[in-house]
Amino acid sequence: MNNQYVIKTTGLSYQYSRGVKTLTKIDLQVERGSIYGFLGPNGSGKTTTLSLLLGLLNKQEGAIEIFGQHLHANRLNILKKIGSLVETPSLYGHLTAWENLEIYRPVYGVSKERINEVLTIVGLTDTGKKLTKKFSLGMKQRLSIALALLPNPELLILDEPSNGLDPAGIIELRQLIKKLNSEFGMTIVISSHLLSEVEKMVSHLGIIYKGKMLFQGSLPELHQFQHYGSRLLIKTSDNTAASQLLQKYLPESDGAIVSVPYQNQEQVASINRILTQHSLDVYLLHPKENDLEQLFIDLTTAQS
């Protein structure tokens, strides 16, 4: 039994209809105590993967281990330790916040006091007899998280939890996720199609596109990956001559701008020296860091 990983999938594949693979050999590895950002554009297979992890879909190919146990052999024991929110909130609109939690309280075998605790964590203690259907989307989302927290889970799976939230709501959610991880030691998997939304809180990332994992690793590993994609944009009095002079850097040119990959500032200075020593006027020398968002787009578009 490997305790390092809370979730470990091996060669997980799935197809909704014959011949059209939605997931292809997904090897997901979520370390204990991490916040794992599961990224990909809409339709890339995030929800399908999470649905398989939660047993909402039956596994077709590959293996799923959660807490070191095979999911399908120990589904109920595993689900006792997982809290989840899959896309839109699953709440009963005709019931109050307290009643919504009371439905599941005995199922998870927790005390009534726990309901007050989770309502306090998400800041919904003062909703009283207000029916859930009259809640704002942000409140519904927070109540759904309270529901996910009810069993005091070791693993929290949140599928696109910021859908429909305003910027303030997104910041609030981010703070809550960090708090759950740092104060309660929960391992959290959070899926999103926006890198900017999760990069401020995750420790690990997985990028999925068209059902295939493009990248998986820690945030520093992604930054390292990112660094290799940085380019220097150059505009001179003669771009054709500049391209020839910088041949060893493998330049790309669209006529108006020449771009070359670069590693560090010294390289920028060196390139500038080469150009000026050959009597070229340098109008623009712009080091363009490949930000994570750009990297995400590059990674996903390179595959399409």
Partner: protein, 254 residues
């Protein structure tokens, strides 16, 4: 124990729903009509003796043939709709409950609603009798003897005859997200089942679940009553098993 928790959850979910109010209103409807009939038309020459028994048995027959099956068709659709309407299936199925418990708990919850319907109905019949007792003191309705065994048998037979219809409708209600489909199928089958048994008197209706209530409700059609009860139970088990197998293999992804 998990099944008990699952049933408890299902009952809690019906709080403040249309299904709950429908149960009370539908249960009270038949007795209310009977009361209006007696108050407006009188007893039409019948002696008032035995009125108390008649209220709880003969007057219940119309409820058993029309109101109760229609109620079951509606409630079997409305209760599973709670999950579809609130987009809550995925939450239900990620709770640590087996699918068998989830499925059974929902069916048991429907049985609880049917029992509530019958209780509301019997209570309203009792209210009818109280009103008649004071409105027509000469009839002495509340002083008449009551055959409790017959009353209980009437209720049990009506319930038993509708078990098959209930399990089929439950399956349909769980199967279709669009609530119109199970209701339309249920009402159409109930209508034809009733007409075929009452008017055409076709023998096959003794095997058709949507006709069982007629055989139970009207004494003239009662020669099959014992076999109807067993057959209804058999159908119920069969369709519950088929319904569960279908439920188990369905996809409930978001």
């Amino acid at each position: 124990m998990n099944l008990v928790y699952a049933v408890r959850s299902e009952i809690l979910k019906t709080k403040r729903t249309a299904s709950f109010y429908l149960t009370l209103i539908a249960g009270a409807f038949g007795p209310l009509m009977s009361l209006l009939d007696i108050l407006m038309d009188g007893l039409e020459g019948h002696p008032p003796e035995g009125l108390l028994n008649e209220m709880f048995t003969k007057k219940f027959e119309m409820t058993g043939v029309a109101m109760l099956p229609i109620f079951i068709i509606l409630v079997c659709t409305l209760l599973p709709q709670i999950e579809y309407r609130n987009n809550a299936w995925k939450q239900v199925l990620t709770a640590p409950l087996s699918k068998a418990h989830v499925f059974l708990a929902k069916f048991i919850n429907i049985q609880v609603m049917i029992v509530l319907f019958l209780l509301a109905n019997q209570f309203m019949i009792f209210v009818d009798c109280v009103i008649l007792h004071f409105k027509e003191p000469a009839w002495q309705v509340l002083n008449q003897p009551i055959d409790l065994k017959k009353v209980v048998l009437t209720l049990v037979n009506s319930y038993g005859a509708l078990l098959a219809l209930c399990s089929i409708q439950f399956w349909l209600g769980m199967r279709f997200k669009n609530f119109i489909i199970p209701i339309a199928i249920g009402l159409a089958c109930w209508f034809f089942g009733t007409i075929l048994a009452l008017q055409a008197k076709m023998a096959f209706t003794a095997y058709f679940p949507y006709s069982f209530h007629v055989h139970d409700g009207f004494p003239n059609y009662r020669p099959w009553i014992t076999s109807i009860g067993w057959m209804s139970f058999g159908y119920a088990v069969l369709f519950l098993v088929l319904g569960f197998l279908d439920f188990r293999k369905r996809r409930f992804s978001a």
